[in-house]
């Protein structure tokens, strides 16, 4: 099986260590991976701001790049970017058949889970973690069971998640976070307060965007919390 890793912008620019965690995991699972050197952003920012024409160059490049790549899977470690590529690219190019591409694109959690790679990691941890369900992973990609089963398989770990009615967005929302700074921040604060009230210290999320936002809010409030992108945590537990 040949795998090509797509590195989302936030991970690439702000938290490259998470991409390295993924590579570590790939190595531990003996996954034959490569990375396209010329990859770009998936084009989601323009799309979600309402300017789909601005996302076309990104989508075009992505399609061209992977049309020459003979990998079996394009692993996308972000529910947001995966949804953009899988659901929205076909809408950007209505005349084109992109099934070959959308079939190859898999979100990191489902890739690790559905192929049972996580079982090879032999993971251990002591203590409780809070799992934040990233919105796009949950609501756009319908990925919920996968990360929870992976985390649940970690020996010694107590997995805590918010009940459905307490479960909310982290408040990021891309351009929303800048356009509606106060609202966005308050949503993030509420999320963190929930974590603090429940005396949790370690937070795992399925999307690096959420980590970035929650961490940014926590920094300003002086909360001493540890944030992990899910791959960071899986990697940590498998040492």
């Amino acid at each position: 099986m040949k795998v090509s890793l797509f590195v989302p912008c936030i991970m690439n620019h702000l938290m490259p260590e998470s991409a390295y965690s993924i590579l570590n995991i790939f190595k531990k699972c003996n996954i034959d991976f490569s990375i396209e050197k010329d990859q770009l952003c998936c084009g989601q920012p323009g799309y979600n701001m309402g300017y789909c024409e601005h996302s076309i160059p990104f989508a075009r490049k992505f399609i061209d790049l992977y049309s020459k790549n003979e990998c079996d899977y394009i692993v996308v470690p972000s529910g947001s970017c995966a949804a953009m590529i899988k659901h929205n690219y076909p809408k950007l190019f209505p005349g084109e058949n992109l099934e070959w591409l959308t079939a190859k694109v898999v979100e990191f959690n489902s890739f690790m889970h559905d192929n049972k790679f996580y079982l090879k990691l032999d993971m251990k941890y002591k203590g409780a973690i809070f799992y934040h369900k990233s919105c796009h992973l949950l609501n756009e990609m319908n990925i919920d069971r996968e990360p929870k089963e992976m985390l649940g398989s970690i020996k010694g770990l107590r997995l805590i998640e918010a009940l459905t009615h307490q479960n909310t967005c982290c408040g990021f929302g891309g351009a929303f976070s800048a356009s509606f700074g106060e609202l966005s921040t308050e949503v993030g604060i509420a999320k963190l307060e929930f974590i603090m009230e429940n005396k949790l210290k370690d937070i795992v999320a399925g999307d690096s965007g959420c980590i970035m936002h929650l961490k940014s809010v926590a920094m300003a409030r002086g909360y001493k919390l540890n944030f992990y992108y899910i791959a960071d945590f899986l990697d940590l537990c498998s040492n």
Partner: protein, 483 residues
């Protein structure tokens, strides 16, 4: 392309948010009420064996009725006439309001008893009646509270959701001349005693309708307090006002809608009272006022017709992180929350909604909770597309800046050379802000020191990975050469 800085007409979500967030009581009320509502809804949906199947059946039923809305509307009116109900269909609010006013005046009434109807909020009936010297007395507790306070409903099914028990107690003791009490039973008793007199002496009762049944000329009114029953049955004249999209094909579909509405709105297995209203009793009269404004147009839109599936349960509002803080009033439109954002541009125009359509994280929880599975985030996004593409819409400066930002992002980040060139400058920028502000500062992001920014990595993953690999392969080559 007109360029202007600020437009007073644009609903200022940021300003409204600031005001709402500063009101700690409001925030506490909203947080408690919305969380409870979602909790109850989830419980009700989880224990129900029929919720999911009702969802599919109701969606199919609504899709069918939307696709033949005009025909159904004609058929409904015909069948109402057979039931001795007089129907009036209006496309504009003014005519609907004028007709209702005339009907009330002709009956010599100077007040009416009213049970909750969101459509009357849409057409602003109460204001219109007031101008004509007619008092509209809201009889449902939530609406009654809101109207006592001189406010508008802030939620589709819980109009006084934003108010705490204490606020209601204060309001009642001030406005109704009653002893101060925070006991909900006592409070509703006060309201009931006050309203009973009104019910007994009213000549005209006005209600909405949750569903209208085409093949039999009936309406269904769903409630928990039985005030609609009184408003329908006690006065001589009953007027029901509703939007044309409420029309469904037949009574067979109705139980599925009830199943969904009661569970999604209040988490009840079934609401307390369901009235199916047909022909008026001997000597009494009944009028249906049907408003079609923009509905046929939406029904004909291949994308937005989905929005007409809405049964106004309010679940999308309860679960929305923006609504939970902004409150219904912050939307400045009778329908708040995700469904309100979807409907607003049709009713008040895109220009006013410049900020509103952007005020969503697109988190998608509304889509998941909506009993009618309306893809609300996709429709909100569709509005953004339309707004961006329509040259006729007069846009304020912030929108042009947003577009410019999106354009620059596309221009720079879709170019391998440019995106690499800009890196050091971005890092330099953060170095400067760290020196000046003592932290990573981004305009519009770093609000009131409540939010920091994690900052950029010294090297992007791509840079570090490929230089490492280059080094590695060079080392390998070096090894080879050395050997």
């Amino acid at each position: 392309m007109a360029l202007f800085l600020k437009d007073k007409n644009i609903i200022n979500i940021n300003k409204n948010a600031k005001k709402a967030l500063a009101d700690k009581t409001l925030q506490a009320n909203l947080k408690k009420a919305t969380a409870e509502a979602v909790f109850k809804r989830n419980q009700a949906a989880a224990v129900s064996e029929t919720f999911e199947s009702s969802r599919d059946i109701a969606i199919a039923a609504r899709e069918a009725s939307i696709s033949m809305l005009r025909k159904l509307s004609d058929e409904f009116v015909e069948n109402c006439v057979k039931n001795n109900i007089k129907c009036f269909v209006f496309d504009d609010y003014e005519s609907a309001n004028a007709k209702i006013t005339d009907l009330i005046k002709e009956r010599g009434a100077d007040f009416i008893v009213k049970s909750k109807s969101m459509l009357t909020e849409e057409i602003e009936l109460n204001r219109h009646l007031k101008l004509n010297g007619i008092e509209a007395i809201e009889t449902d507790l939530g609406e009654f509270i809101v109207s006592l306070a001189g406010e508008k409903p802030s939620h589709l099914t819980a109009p006084a959701l934003h108010k705490s028990r204490r606020e209601v107690a204060r309001l009642f003791s001030e406005k109704l001349d009653m002893p101060y009490s925070e006991d909900p039973a006592q409070l509703s008793y006060f309201a009931r005693r006050y309203l009973r007199d009104k019910f007994m002496s009213a000549r005209v009762g006005l209600t909405g309708a949750n569903f209208a049944v085409s093949d039999s000329g009936l309406i269904a009114v769903i409630e928990n307090e039985a005030n609609a029953r009184l408003a329908i049955n006690l006065p001589q004249t009953h007027i029901a006002v509703f939007g044309v999209e409420k029309i469904i094909r037949n009574l067979n579909d109705l139980p599925h809608f009830l199943n969904l509405l009661s569970k999604s709105a209040t988490g009840q297995l079934l609401n307390a009272y369901t009235s199916i209203i047909g022909p008026p009793a001997e000597g009494k009269e009944r009028f249906f006022i049907i408003v079609t404004k923009r509905r046929f147009e939406i029904a004909a839109d291949p994308v937005f017709k989905e929005a007409l599936r809405c049964i106004r349960c309010g679940a999308c509002q309860n679960i929305c992180p923006v609504f939970q803080r902004l409150s219904g009033h912050g939307y400045e439109f009778c329908y708040g929350g995700p469904i309100g954002t979807v409907l607003a541009p049709f009713f008040i125009g895109y220009q006013k909604c410049a900020e509103l359509i952007d005020a969503s994280t697109l988190c998608g929880f509304c889509k998941s909770i909506c009993p009618m599975k309306i893809n609300l985030p996709a429709l909100i996004l569709q509005h953004r597309f339309h707004y961006g593409a329509d040259k006729k819409i007069k846009k304020p400066l912030f929108k042009h800046l947003k577009k410019l930002f999106s354009y620059l992002h596309s221009l720079i980040m879709s170019n391998n050379v440019l995106s690499r060139v800009i890196q050091p400058f971005a890092r330099l920028y953060f170095k400067i802000t760290a020196a000046v502000f003592g932290r990573n500062y981004i305009p519009r992001w770093s609000v009131f020191s409540k939010r920091d920014f994690i900052g950029m990595a010294p090297k992007t993953f791509m840079e570090s990975y490929f230089t490492k690999n280059k080094k590695k392969s060079r080392e390998k080559e070096g090894d080879k050469n050395g050997n």
